[in-house]
Symmetry: C2
Subunit: 537 residues, 2 copies
């Protein structure tokens, strides 16, 4: 199993995801749901692709770690967004990286980067390739003489565990499961579970400010970074392991979220969590989404810090198997390696009851058996969550437009914001697709000053026009979101796809300063040019 290849066009390994039979049933179910005939387009095969020949050849010394064959170049062409999948199904691979490098050490990362710098080739740091914002694709062919995708999958080891300070030094290319496997012998876990967990890397999480397991308090990977090692064309950067500091602007925070434009993260000291021994979970139903959101606000401002307090609107609850479609549901959980969180859960359920939340009489009881996390509404939610990328892939094969947009907004604007955003999305979907489809919302993370809502659009598209249709919906929704004061991304990053809204969200002066900082690290502007911002040369 370990030697199966990753799909070059979709999620997971070749053969992963629902089997033929399950796909057919999903297709029939979806056809009934939307009242139209649907067929499954065949997945692309490698022999159908005729890629542009590589424009450059790696130097002899790097040849052993470089690949130029069709599989590697196709697999590194796109990320994993809806748009990327559609282009895969269209066999549209017009601008592949010329070379894919697989360095096995930091020295080799440096050597590859030196080659790119010398030859003025675009260097694209590549973790798991799960970007949904165009963060790993080559810059336009006419803007560079060659592009090298630098796949860090062989930097996959946990190098050191400090059980006193609860931190580990970890190579950046490791994927989620392999990272947790290596920590399994300890009492610790990184406990960072973005939806891409199976096929995304630590370095990718840090470079994109990934959102993880914890719905409150420690929402982004940012908070778990203790120190970084980053290779830039002008040298290595290593920050100190410090629990806290007030010495100037944080060096780590300049690289966290830099999306491969400033350097290649090779290692990080990450703060770990004690493995939870106590878990208390509850599923709370509310009459409607606004009631659930009022409870969520009260909870988020109470200083209780639940590990999970995700709110699903009635449509999301139905899809996730956590409700019957008539109620909004809050999935609430506390966990601890230290103490029974009963008092925390009791107060949280009181907050829910204040807003007429309904829960089972035994809801919220603390469990100490290790299977607790996998059971009940929370377990169901988790399975559905990690399974979603496999299912989406099948939807795309039916020409279903299936994508998400996510943001964050302060509480006092949320109600109006949500109303206008849903209206804009519904109007755009109806205009573009001629019918309503499904638009649902869940809250993935929450702060004392506001929630991070996550919207899912599922609507049958016109086969052959799905890209253009999605682009029009995305434009209308994102314009609204930015006009109303949200952020273009809470945890999906900016990449190439979000640039126009990122530029409306951030101060121009700040972006100029970032460009200037980039020039100090990367004077030839080889690192992921065009992602996040255009480099100045």
């Amino acid at each position: 199993m370990a030697h199966r290849r990753l799909k070059f066009w979709g999620w997971g390994h070749e053969g992963d995801g629902p089997n033929e039979d399950a796909q057919r049933r999903l297709c029939e179910r979806t056809a009934r749901r939307f009242g139209r005939a649907l067929t499954l387009a065949p997945a692309p095969r490698l022999e159908e692709l005729a890629l542009r020949p590589p424009r450059v050849k790696p130097p002899a010394a790097l040849a052993p770690i470089c690949a130029t064959d069709t599989y590697d170049r196709a697999a590194h062409h796109w990320g994993k967004s809806f748009r990327d999948l559609v282009r895969g199904f269209r066999r549209h691979y017009p601008n592949p990286p010329d070379v894919v490098a697989y360095p096995r050490s930091e020295q080799e990362v440096t050597a590859v980067l030196e080659w790119c710098d010398r030859a003025k080739l675009a260097a694209i740091p590549y973790g798991g390739g799960s970007s949904v914002v165009g963060g790993v694709e080559a810059p336009p062919a006419d803007s560079c003489s060659g592009a090298v995708s630098i796949d860090l999958r062989h930097l996959d080891r946990v190098l050191e565990v400090d059980s006193i300070s609860r931190a580990a030094r970890i190579q950046a290319g490791v994927y989620g499961p392999a990272l947790e496997d290596q920590l399994r012998a300890t009492n610790f876990t990184l406990r960072h579970f973005p939806q891409s967990f199976e096929f995304s890397s630590l370095g990718g999480w840090i470079a994109t400010r990934s959102g993880g397991h914890f719905a409150t308090l420690y929402t982004h990977i940012d908070d778990f970074v203790e120190a970084l090692r980053v290779i830039t064309p002008t040298g290595a950067i290593e920050t100190r392991r410090l629990p806290g500091s007030g010495a100037g602007p944080s060096p780590d925070r300049m690289f966290i979220g830099s999306e491969g434009t400033l350097g290649i993260i090779t290692e990080a000291w990450m703060r770990l969590q004690e493995r939870p021994r106590y878990r208390a979970g509850a599923s709370v139903a509310f009459d409607d989404f606004p009631a659930a959101m009022r409870a969520l606000r009260q909870l988020s401002q109470a200083g209780l810090y639940p590990a999970n307090c995700r709110v699903l609107d009635p449509g999301e609850a139905l899809t996730a198997g956590a409700g019957d479609g008539s109620e909004a549901v809050m999935v609430l959980a506390f966990e601890s390696g230290d103490h029974d969180p009963a008092a925390w859960m009791r107060r949280a359920l009181e907050c829910c009851a204040d807003h007429k939340g309904r829960f089972a009489p035994d809801a919220g009881q603390t469990r100490t058996d290790s299977s607790a996390a996998r059971e009940g509404a929370a377990g169901e939610w988790r399975r559905t969550f990690l399974n979603a990328p496999y299912l989406r892939e099948v939807l795309v094969r039916m020409a279903i437009i299936a994508e998400t947009f996510e943001t964050a907004i302060t509480w006092e604007r949320f109600e109006q914001f949500h109303h206008e955003l849903m209206s804009a999305a519904r109007a755009a979907v109806a205009r573009v697709c001629g019918h309503g489809g499904s638009i649902t919302c869940r809250i993935t993370h929450v702060y004392p000053d506001g929630p991070a809502p996550y919207y899912t659009v599922t609507v049958p598209g016109r086969a052959g026009s799905e890209l253009e249709q999605w682009d029009e919906i995305k434009q209308a929704v994102s314009d609204t979101l930015i006009r109303l004061g949200g952020t273009i991304t809470h945890h999906h990053a900016v990449g190439r796809d979000h640039r126009q809204w990122y530029e409306r969200e951030t101060p121009a002066g700040f972006r100029r300063a970032l460009q200037a900082a980039k020039r100090a690290f990367d004077p030839n502007a080889i690192l992921n040019p065009g992602v996040l911002f255009d480099p100045i040369r």
Copy 2:
């Protein structure tokens, strides 16, 4: 009272601090403590100073908000470090700012900055002037043709309170007490109490990454910044109010800690706290400092997040009136506006008991009366804490070397670190002063991965040589601290005084990037040049 002037040479308003009688008693007590005769040097008077005449004259349009008289220029010459006080007592004011500007609006800040940019004058943002690291003094006279201190004290209003999201838009020049006064009619508080609280400003806290009230979780002002407005020579920067975002490196984090080198912070949206209604406090005694530190580590990794859990070594405990000098003491407190923290406190005391911590039978009981915070060990600690700058001033008048250094270090290195640092400090003090003096340690803030220790040195100096003596002690201790992996500052900032160690702590490449970013905001390098780093021109 409101119209009394601030001392130009010391802490607080003219006449504030211990009266003549109290000063004499303190002098006698200190003389007995160190077994030597001590006298109180007279405070400097304005008429004793003959400042260099201003090298520049403000343009007519700015004249009404500019001052060039001796009081204003002397009062803005130094910060409030030990070295600054000594130089004040020596009547040493060789390089005052030429002009002190007091803008009353953001427009006037912009106008002053435009003048400085046009005339190539150093522009020094000035909040409360409480810097202890040389952060507000003019650059060397030969490096600029003039220096303007821009005192923001008139930007002192809370402009807007959003009680739904619990945030307020606040002008950056407001001092701590005036800020809290303006929030008093609401149910909210910023609850940020650095030791300089009385005479330091919101903008100063943000620019220097000030450390505040909360000993865990929300230790730095950083965490409370929701959005910023900053005036730079190339234009205004305004970030969005967002509870969270993953859109590129955080713009706010570039300015937080920039110490006036990138722009002048004029406003911030700050996250507020609900006013605590429940408080549970306890004072826990331990056999020795190592035992208290073991309890602190367990507590800091338990996910309980006490508002206070400061550890005082036996010497500190004695000074703070929280112990008899034979025991280490942990000052522990939980507070909440939402719920009784009894379960939290119970578990925290269990952690202490695990390490033989001793507390009164009724310790940790929750109180709901508003006077609770002012009473007991915590109240005593607080009074002592805010009173310290007044006392230090008197010590300096006796030629007592009285200064602090603070850092942060991960747990697995702490024991060795503390041992070597105390040894280095003791050796330096003995070598430089010929006797031991007092060197004590407290932990001001704590993280799951390590503590932030704070060391206080009190030792009789040689009148006339205190500066040189302190410099030698500071050099020895800071060299040790940096060699052993600490940070040169957890919350005192870098300024001019910490530069040599900041440069050993941070990657050179990062500092070059900061310089490059500065050039984008401030091409003529007028903003606080020489603080944090040397600008490239």
